[in-house]
Symmetry: none
Subunit: 488 residues, 2 copies
């Protein structure tokens, strides 16, 4: 008998279970040629004794080896090292191979990614305009989710279903969107998606081909820029002023070159929060009709307006099927609940269904049904009424703070709605340096201001001072730290 | 009792199944105000009699109405028109607006979609191998979800976070995958995604450029085919025999042309359920190394093996970073819970993070954390032990049924694992016709068998007889209907 007690070392302290240690070392012995094809093993009783392990443990290891064809047992003859061995296999994972596990053995094509700001766990943050998840109707959502999971009549929600989303949510959303923002959408024109980002991505993959020109604001939401670039678009930059994207410039451009479509956030331009004027809205629709453009209207914060009724979305006055309208519950509830929607002509929605099947097959119907219930029961409406008041107060608090503490360096206007104030810093201030210094105090995160100036096209530099997620004392603290820096 | 036989007209010639006709007309009656909120319906027996339909058909319609909240059933009281009606639903759009809403005013580029079978609500279904959601640990999942939502310490899960998934789930999965299938993966090598389909799509977008050649089985999982085609791939078909994909053929092809990678389901080839032999596994890895291929290993049903320990995945013996390993909880829990994973070299995982940010930003961290808890607490393991026994019995039951009732037309082998039996029909049988006839009996859905013979490359035609989701009486019914057909 081979000296198995030397060949196979059991480490009782190891987190690896014993049978697996035996299994692994057996393979090694075979690979190293110590155990050759056809070699007969000792009886399990002898072997177990020699290794000082329970016979069951050994059997488990041998079983595993047999199932992987490393050994074969022959009736009434014993266990043999397999004669059809997968021999030319390499040596165990040593340090150098571990290194290899970090890199692919095949070539990865060049990827067009435009790195975006990644959230990190800082104690205090200035975000770019997020909801306060502490106010969200989490209890109601959790109750619905649990109840639906437990209900036999909802069991069909647990299997495969429509890639356009839960039926009831689509119906409830049709009502909600038509009531709250004057859309004329219908069940067939509505697709549920996992938030605006998924809508942007799916539509980009469907509507943009390499080299297509997409018009966007000179400053623009970085997530949209990144997504269009990923789809192979050439971005055509349009200036943005106090009345939003300068639509006249788009008309000029369209006369000279083929533009596929335009992306914008007319309710509050991201990042500068300005609203697209009524005149420009009409003009934009007429340009779209003339040149066959799509208008991708990202209405990320429609539900948050404080001073007066907002303009209705472009989608509500589009009669020729040019506007694709997207929005989400991210701002209404919390970023984690990635439920959003696309309202578009139904021929496009039919294709969206196919695209979604390939993207991730379908949404979470239990979550979607839960949100449908919150809509049906008026919980969402009630929640919106509540947070509107809170956020309006917070906007005012943030404005006062900026006036009190940062007015020497920051210029801003009070936005009529939304969740952030756009503050512009003087050109001479090196925001990169400010950001670094503050980060080193590891108590503050400035949203990466550079992202609003992607191609250094802007003559100004700004930060979105998100106010909705912050209680007064939290804002005080953050703005205090910033103002201390500027006093130095 | 209202004159339901006049109110609801069944058209037996219609292509619309009867229960759906009932369902649709019920909604119309409610919308028209004929049936008012709170109205009690007659008993199902009476109503079925009055409509001259099978009681089961009526139940199906009522079930659907209930799940859409049009009606509510109260224990021991009966079924009522729902008191919280979505009433002001539909002041219908005029015909002209409807027409406009159907078409875009801009040009949609040609889309490469490969239409897949869409599930529809039939009373009895033969699926292609789905889990029985009735057995899933829904209660535990619901409890966890609700509890996490209600817990202040989990609040950070509600905002933006890592696009690679919840930390705890990644940690738990590393343990689970390394323990259960001998992987050597780590936190940095693991990305959480929304199921295998999302993994396929993201990897396709990243690794495939138009015209790239991707090797797949002659028969292959249609979701993969469709996804690669969408990404612009040319599919190169490799024969499949009793030992899985014929790897020797791949070697021949690689000598002649540049192949980017291969997709396969080595544990059980989809659809034919055969297992890739040990010898071919070694050979495949060596080809990948020689020609710089990626191997996309879709291990969709590793956890379901009945006869003996399965081969460990290719990923467990890959030392040079060629294998990208994907799997999901779809089969372990239910299709609705779209949580899956990619284990790959960490340089690729870093790019996956970027790709995910653009796809849909991130997963549902509350769901992911809930599943992490189920893993941590052993609930998943316990669940797997339970269903393994149930599914093994169901496999045996299905085999017996096929032997008893369909042996004259179907050939099959009992699979060692998985959730479906691959049954091959004689060439002379026109499965399209069979499928149509059975569908008209509106009680049976054959999974679209054509999907397994995408390019008419196969010399045989088969159906996956999914057994895992079916109780014995349910299988009896379905196979009974099929065998009746063949006796005629």
């Amino acid at each position: 008998m081979l000296p198995f007690s030397n060949l196979i070392q059991i480490d009782r302290e190891s987190s690896e279970v014993v049978y697996r240690q035996i299994y692994r070392q057996f393979i090694q012995l075979i690979k190293d040629g110590v155990l050759q094809a056809g070699t007969k093993l000792p009886s399990t009783r002898e072997l177990a004794k020699s290794l000082k392990v329970n016979r069951m443990t050994l059997m488990l290891a041998l079983d595993e080896l047999e199932s992987q064809d490393w050994v074969e047992s022959k009736a009434r003859k014993g266990i043999f090292i397999s004669s059809s061995l997968p021999m030319n296999r390499a040596v165990a994972l040593g340090e150098s191979e571990r290194e290899k596990s970090k890199t692919t053995g095949f070539q990865i094509p060049e990827q067009i990614y435009f790195r975006q700001h990644q959230p990190q766990p800082y104690l205090r943050k200035l975000d770019e305009g997020l909801p306060d998840v502490r106010l969200a109707p989490l209890k109601e959502l959790g109750q619905n989710y649990k109840q639906i999971l437990g209900s036999a009549s909802h069991q069909k929600l647990l299997s495969y279903g429509s890639a356009l989303g839960d039926d009831l949510l689509r119906e409830e959303l049709v009502k909600f969107l038509n009531d709250s923002r004057g859309l004329h959408t219908s069940y067939e024109q509505l697709a549920i998606v996992r938030g605006s980002q998924m809508a942007l991505r799916m539509l980009s993959e469907m509507l943009i081909r390499t080299g297509d020109k997409i018009a966007v604001g000179e400053s623009n939401y970085i997530g949209a820029d990144a997504t269009f670039l990923r789809a192979g678009a050439d971005l055509v930059r349009i200036p943005v002023d106090q009345d939003g994207v300068v639509v006249e410039k788009l008309a000029d451009i369209c006369q000279k070159e083929k533009i596929r479509g335009i992306y914008l956030t007319p309710h509050h331009h991201h990042p500068t929060t300005v609203t697209l004027s009524a005149e420009r809205r009409i003009q934009l629709l007429s340009i779209a009709e003339q040149y066959g453009l799509f208008i991708l209207e990202d209405d990320y914060d429609y539900d948050f307006h404080y001073s007066r009724s907002p303009y209705l979305p472009l989608a509500s006055i589009d009669q020729q099927g040019h506007v694709i309208y997207i929005g989400s519950f991210t701002k209404m509830l919390a970023p984690n609940f990635r439920v959003g929607f696309i309202s578009a002509p139904s021929d496009l929605v039919k294709l969206i269904e196919q695209e979604r099947i390939l993207s991730d097959r379908q949404g979470d119907f239990v979550l979607e049904r839960s949100i449908a219930h919150l809509l049906r029961d008026g919980v969402i409406h009630q929640h919106l009424r509540k947070v509107l008041k809170v956020y309006q107060n917070r906007r005012d608090t943030m404005s006062e703070l900026l006036n009190d503490k940062l007015s020497s360096v920051v210029e801003f206007e009070i936005p009529k709605g939304g969740m952030a104030i756009w503050g512009e810093f003087d050109q001479e201030i090196d925001l990169a340096k400010v950001s670094d210094i503050l980060l080193k105090k590891h108590a503050l995160l400035i949203p990466d201001f550079k992202q609003y100036n992607t191609f250094n096209l802007l003559n100004s530099q700004g930060i979105r001072f998100g106010f909705a997620s912050q209680k007064e004392e939290e804002m005080n603290e953050i703005i205090g730290i910033m103002s201390n820096h500027f006093e130095v």
